[in-house]
Symmetry: C3
Subunit: 490 residues, 3 copies
C-alpha cells in the first residue's frame, strides 16, 4: 500500500475533465434531443389512445423494447461489470469503472445515435428504442476495456470510449445503410469491432512497454465466483441481445438460434477446457468466457433460417475456437506482437465475431425465396426487387419496400465487405486512439500499480491484511528469536 500510488500523474486534472465531460454531455443532449413521439405528452393522439385503450380493456400492447430493454441493461452493467471482477485485486475497479464508463458512454451513444436520425427540427428523438440502441452501442467500448483492464486510468477509458463510439456509429451506419449488410446481433459491429479496437490500443501500449508478468494478474478463489455472476447473466440474456433489433418470427428465431448456439458453446468450451488442461480439469478463465462465444458467433445470422443444427454447430465451433485461443493464441500474440489482452477479448469477442460475420455471409449465400418466401426481403432488404419489379401485392399486403435486386451471392459479398470494413475501421481507429492515449493527457498507470484497485480507490486497511501483517510481525520477532537463540545457547 501507499508505494507508487502517486505515479499516476494529473489525478486532479482527470477529475476536472470528468466534470467537464458531463457538462458538455448535458449541453449536447439538451440542445440536440427531445422526447420522441411515443414519449411526448403534447401529442393528443397518445392521450386518446391511452384512454380508448384503457377504456375498452383493449390496451395498446407495449413495444418490444420495453420488454427486452431491462435484459440488455442487466447484460451491460451486471454482465460486463462482474465478468471483469475475476482479478484478485481489481474487482472494485472492474465493477466500479464499468459503472462509470457506461454511465458516461450511454449518454454519448444517445447523442451519436441521435445525430444520425435528426428530425426536421434538427432534434433527435429519445425513445425506448434509442435507449436500447445506446445500451447495445456501449457494449463495444466495454469489450475494448476488457483488453486493457487493469492497465489504464479511468480517464483513458472514458476518452477511448468516446472516440470509439463515434467511429462505431459511423462504421455501423456505412455498413447498414450503404452496404446494406445484415448483422442482427451486432456480432460484427459491436463484438468484432470492440475487440479489435481494444487490441489495437493494447498493441500501441505494448510498443512502449513490453507486457510483463504481474503478480496481481490472476484470480482469487472468491473473485472467480464473483466473475461467474457476470458470465451467467450474460449467457442468460444473450438471446435478448441478439433479438433486440428484430420482431415477429425473426425475433423468435433469433431467440431459439441464440439459445442453441450458446448452449453448444457452453458444453464444448467445458469439454475443450478439460481436454487441453493438466489432469483434464476445467479452467475458470475458459468457463467464464468461452462458454459465451456461441452467443457472439450466431449474432449476425441470428434472425436467418440457419436451422437448429446450424446454430448448434456454429456455437460449438465458437466454444472450441475460443478455448484454443486462450490456450495457444493469447500467449503467442502477447509474446510476439506484444499485444496484452487482460480478459482475452480476442477469444470471446474477436474471433467469434469474425466467425459470425463469415457464417452470416454463408447463410446469406444460401438464402433463397424458397426457404424464406417474401420474408427474404424483410431480412435482406437489399435483395428485394427494385421499384419496377416490385408487385403491388408485395408492397401493399406485406409492406416490402423496393430494394437493390441483389442475388444471394451478391448479398454474401456485401456481408464479407462489411466484416472487412469493420475490422479495418476498428484497427486503424484503435491504433490512432492508442497513440493519443499514450500522450498521457488522460494520465497513465505505472507498471507496479497495474491490476491494483489501490490506484482508483480509497481502500480500507483490512483484517486479512492485518492478519498477514500480524504474520510478518511474528516472523520478524521469530527470526530475531532464532537469531538470538544461537547467541543465547552459546
Amino acid at each position: 500500500m501507499g508505494k507508487g500510488m502517486l505515479s499516476v500523474c494529473g489525478e486532479k486534472q482527470q477529475v476536472v475533465l470528468l466534470f467537464l465531460i458531463e457538462i458538455i454531455l448535458i449541453v449536447l443532449i439538451g440542445t440536440l434531443t427531445t422526447y420522441g413521439p411515443e414519449a411526448n405528452a403534447n401529442l393528443l393522439k397518445n392521450l386518446k389512445e391511452d384512454y380508448n385503450g384503457n377504456n375498452e380493456h383493449n390496451r395498446k400492447p407495449q413495444s418490444d423494447s420495453l420488454r427486452i430493454y431491462p435484459n440488455v441493461h442487466v447484460m451491460i452493467w451486471i454482465g460486463f461489470g462482474y465478468l471483469m471482477t475475476f482479478l484478485k485485486r481489481y474487482g472494485q475497479s472492474a465493477i466500479g469503472l464499468t459503472f462509470l464508463i457506461s454511465a458516461v458512454l450511454v449518454q454519448v451513444a444517445l447523442i451519436c445515435e441521435g445525430v444520425l436520425h435528426f428530425d426536421k427540427n434538427n432534434k433527435a428523438y429519445l425513445s425506448l428504442s434509442s435507449l436500447l440502441s445506446a445500451d447495445v452501442a456501449v457494449a463495444a467500448p466495454l469489450i475494448s476495456m476488457g483488453a486493457l483492464l487493469g492497465k489504464t486510468t479511468y480517464m483513458q477509458l472514458v476518452f477511448m470510449g468516446i472516440v470509439e463510439l463515434i467511429v462505431y456509429t459511423i462504421n455501423k451506419y456505412i455498413n447498414e445503410h450503404h452496404l446494406m449488410a445484415v448483422d442482427a446481433g451486432d456480432s460484427m459491429y459491436v463484438h468484432a469491432f470492440g475487440a479489435y479496437f481494444g487490441l489495437a490500443v493494447s498493441f500501441v501500449f505494448g510498443r512502449k512497454d513490453k507486457p510483463k508478468e504481474h503478480h496481481l494478474e490472476g484470480p482469487s478463489y472468491q473473485s472467480d465466483i464473483f466473475a461467474m455472476i457476470g458470465t451467467v447473466f450474460l449467457w442468460l440474456f444473450w438471446p435478448s441481445f441478439n433479438s433486440a433489433s428484430l420482431d415477429g418470427d425473426s425475433q423468435q428465431r433469433a431467440i431459439i438460434n441464440t439459445l442453441l448456439s450458446i448452449s453448444g458453446s457452453c458444453v464444448i468450451a467445458f469439454a475443450t477446457s478439460a481436454l487441453i488442461s493438466k489432469d483434464n480439469k476445467f479452467n475458470m478463465v475458459h468457463v467464464q468466457n468461452s462458454t459465451l462465444a456461441g452467443g457472439v458467433a450466431i449474432g449476425t445470422a441470428a434472425g436467418m433460417m440457419c436451422k437448429p443444427i446450424g446454430a448448434l454447430i456454429i456455437g460449438s465451433l465458437a466454444g472450441l475456437l475460443s478455448v484454443l485461443g486462450y490456450k495457444y493464441l493469447t500467449p503467442f500474440i502477447q509474446k510476439r506482437l506484444r499485444i496484452h489482452d487482460t480478459c482475452g477479448v480476442h477469444n470471446l469477442h474477436g474471433m467469434p465475431g469474425v466467425l459470425a460475420g463469415i457464417f452470416g455471409a454463408i447463410m446469406a449465400a444460401l438464402a433463397t425465396q424458397n426457404s424464406y418466401d417474401y420474408s427474404l426481403y424483410e431480412i435482406f432488404p437489399a435483395r428485394a426487387p427494385n421499384f419496377e419489379k416490385l408487385t403491388s401485392e408485395m408492397r401493399n399486403d406485406y409492406g416490402i419496400l423496393p430494394g437493390n435486386d441483389r442475388t444471394a451471392l451478391e448479398q454474401a459479398g456485401y456481408q464479407i465487405l462489411a466484416l472487412t470494413v469493420t475490422l479495418l475501421m476498428a484497427s486503424i481507429s484503435g491504433v490512432i486512439t492508442g497513440l493519443i492515449l499514450r500522450t498521457s493527457v488522460c494520465g497513465s498507470v505505472a507498471e507496479e500499480d497495474k491490476f491494483d484497485d489501490a490506484v482508483h480507490w480509497e481502500l480500507e486497511e483490512e483484517e486479512e491484511e492485518e492478519g498477514l501483517h500480524e504474520i510478518s510481525k511474528i516472523k520478524e520477532r521469530n527470526s530475531r528469536a532464532n537469531d538470538q537463540l544461537p547467541m543465547g545457547t552459546i
Copy 2:
C-alpha cells in the same frame, strides 16, 4: 465470538412474537382480502376473453404490472438487500434481515393498501397492481432500516416497519387524494418519508446512547463488491420503479427521464468523490450510494415534461449533493445531533427526496397547456376544469374527469405542501416509534454487539478465523518462548 451474545434480552419472546405476527397477518389477509376481478376464476368474462383472445391469435395484452413487477421485486430484495452488505461482518444480516423484514412487510402493505380500497363487500382486491404497490411501499421501511443497520434486533425492525407502513399509507393517501399532489416515482412518499422516519428513530436512539466509533463499522474488500450487486441492480431498474404507476407516454417519459437523471448522478457522484478525497481517488461508499441519487431526485417529476436537460441537471445536482452530504453533513449530524446513519440514507434518500419534491413543484409551476395539451389534466388531475367547464370532447374522447380548476402555481403550492406534510409525518411518527423501540419490548443490541452478524446468526467457526486463531496461538507460544529466552540465557 461468544462474548456478550446474551446481552440481547428476550430472544425467545421475539421468536414467539414473530410467529404471532405471521398468524395475525394470515387472519387479517384471510378476512380482509379476496382475488381481484382479473384473478377471479368465478368471472365468466375472464374465461370468455381468454378463449376468444386465444382463439383468434389476438390475445389480450398483459397489463404493464406484469412486466414491471419483476424488476421492482428485484430492486427490493436484491437491490436493497445487497446494497446493505457493505459492512464487513454484517453481510448475512443485511441480506437476511432484508429478506425477513420484506416478507413480513409486503403482507402488511397488502393489508394497508387494501383497507383503503375496500369494495362493497368490505373486501380488498388482490391483483398484480396491488402487489406492485405493496413492493413499492416496502421500500420505505427498508430505507429506514438503512439508517439503523447493525444497531437493532430483527424484531425492532419488524415493529418499526409495521408502524411505518401504517403512517406511510395515511400520508400517501392524504397527499394523493386530498392535496392531489403528484409524485410518480414516490420520491416524497417513499424516499424522503423513509429516510426521515429512520433518522428520527436513530435520533431517539442517539439520545440514550451517544453514537461511538465501532471497529466493525466498515467494509472489507469483498463486502464492497457484494454491495455493488445491490447498487447496480437498483441503478438498472430505477426507471421501472419511477414509471411503475404510469402508463402510455407518461411511462415512456418517466423511463427516459430516470435513465438520464441517474446517469448524470452516477458520473457526477464519481467525479465529486474523486474531487474531495485524498489523492483524488474514488470512495466506495459514494459510488455505492450517491450514484443512485438521480433516481430519487427525478422521481416526483419523472412523468412530467421536464425535458432531457432538466432530467440530467437535477440528477447531476443530486449526485453532487449526495457525495457532499456523505463527506460533510453525515459526520456533522452524527456529532452534533447524535443521529447515526449507518448507510447514509440521508444522502441517498433524504436530501435527494426533498430535492425531488422541490423540483416537482417547480415543474408543476411551469406546466402549461401549451406544452402538455390535454395531457396536463391526466398528469395533474386537480388542474382539470371543474364539472361545469369540462367540455364533452375532453370527457368523451380523452377521458378527462372534472378537477379542481387549479392554476399552475396553485398546483406547485400543493406539491410543496405535500412535501412538508410528508416530512412532518415522517419525523413525528419516527420519534414516537423510536421512543417505543427504546422500551426494549423488541429487545435491543448492546454496544459491543453492534454491526456483528453473530447477534443474529449461528456462525460456523471458520478457516480464516482458525487461521487467525492459529496465529494467536503461535504468538502466545512465541511470546512464551521469548519470555523464557532471557531466563534460559541467564
Copy 3:
C-alpha cells in the same frame, strides 16, 4: 492440494464422452426439430401480421412466454447455481457444474419434449414455449444434483440428468395426459420427482460408502452470502415459475397465491429456525432453503381458487415442516437410511412437493362449479361434461372441450394417484440410475476429494493459502525453536 486428485479415474474418457454427448445432441436436434410456426420465416402469415400490425400501430402482443421466460431462465442458472455455492470450497463447482449440466440438459429436454409433440412430418417444433418447458424440466435434475452435491464427477451428473429427464418426461406425460392430474407449478412432476430421484441415487451411493463427516462440508462466511444470491432470485421469480404454464385469470391467481405462500414460508422459516436453535439465532441453511418451501407447496394448487388464506397457511406450514426436516429428519435419514443429502433437497423440494400434491388434491376435492363457474373445466379439463352433455354455449362461447365428467372427489383421487405414480417412478428409476452410476463408467470421487473444487478445477495458489502456508512454516520453525530451547537452556 495435489494429494489424491488423481483418484478420480478416467478423466480423459469423461472428456471424450462429453464431446460425444454434444455431438449426439446436435445430430438429434438437427434431425428431430424444426422452427415452430411462430418462428418460421417461410410462413407468409407471419410477415403479413407483422406488417399490418406494425403499420397500424396495433402490433400483435407478445406471447406470455416471451415475458416469463427470462425470469425462469434466471431461476435455473443463477438461482439454482448460486444456491448451491454455500459450501466453503465447492462454490466454483456449484455454479460451474450447474452451468454445464443445465446447458447439456436443456438440449436433452428440448428433444424429450419434442418427441412427445411431433408434427405430421415427424418434426418437433421449437418455440418460446418449448424453450420455457425445457427450462422447467431442467429444474428436476438440478434438484437431484442438490442431494449429491460434492460427491460426484460432472459426468455422473450429466448421465444422471439425461436418464432423469427421460423418466421425467414419461412421468409427466402419463400424469397429465392419461390421469389428467393438474400440477400448474410442477411441484409433483419437478420438485417431488427431482428430490426423490436424487435421494434414491444417494441411497444407492450410501450402500457402498457410509456417509461420513467431512471437514469441507460446511459454509464459510462469504459462501453463505453468495448462496443468498441464489435464494433471493429463486424466491423473487417463483411466482413466474408457478404461473408459467397458465394464462389469463389463472396466471394472475397463481402469481398472487405464490407470493403469499412463499412470503408465509419465509417468515415462518425464520421464526422456526430461531425457535429450535441455540440462543434463538437464525441458521443460514434454513434461511437459504426453507424460506422457499412455500413456493413448492403451493405449486400444484397455484392456479386454483385456494383463497389468499389457503395460500398463506400452506406456505407457512411448508416453512415450518422444512426447517424441522433440516433439524431432525435429515440427520436421521443420513444415520439410519445412509441417505446423505448435501443441500437438504428433501426438506426444500421433497416434503413440500408431497405437501403440494396433497394440498392440490384437497383443493380439487373442494372445487365446485359454484366457486369456479365454467372455469372449472378450464382448470380441471377432466371434470368437463362429456361429449353428449356439453352444451353448445360452453363449446362455442367459452371454448370448453368435452371431458371425462369427473366429480370433485374423483379428480382428487386422480391427483393423489399422480403423486403416488410420481414418487414411485422417481424412487425406482433413481435406484436404477444410482446402481449404474456406481459402476464408475462415469468415474467417481474419492472420500477425501469430496466437496473440494480441486477435483474439477485448476485452482491457482492463493494468497490466503500462502498466508496459511506461511503460518505453518512459522509454526514449524517455531516448534523447532521450541524444541531447541530446552536443549539451549540445559
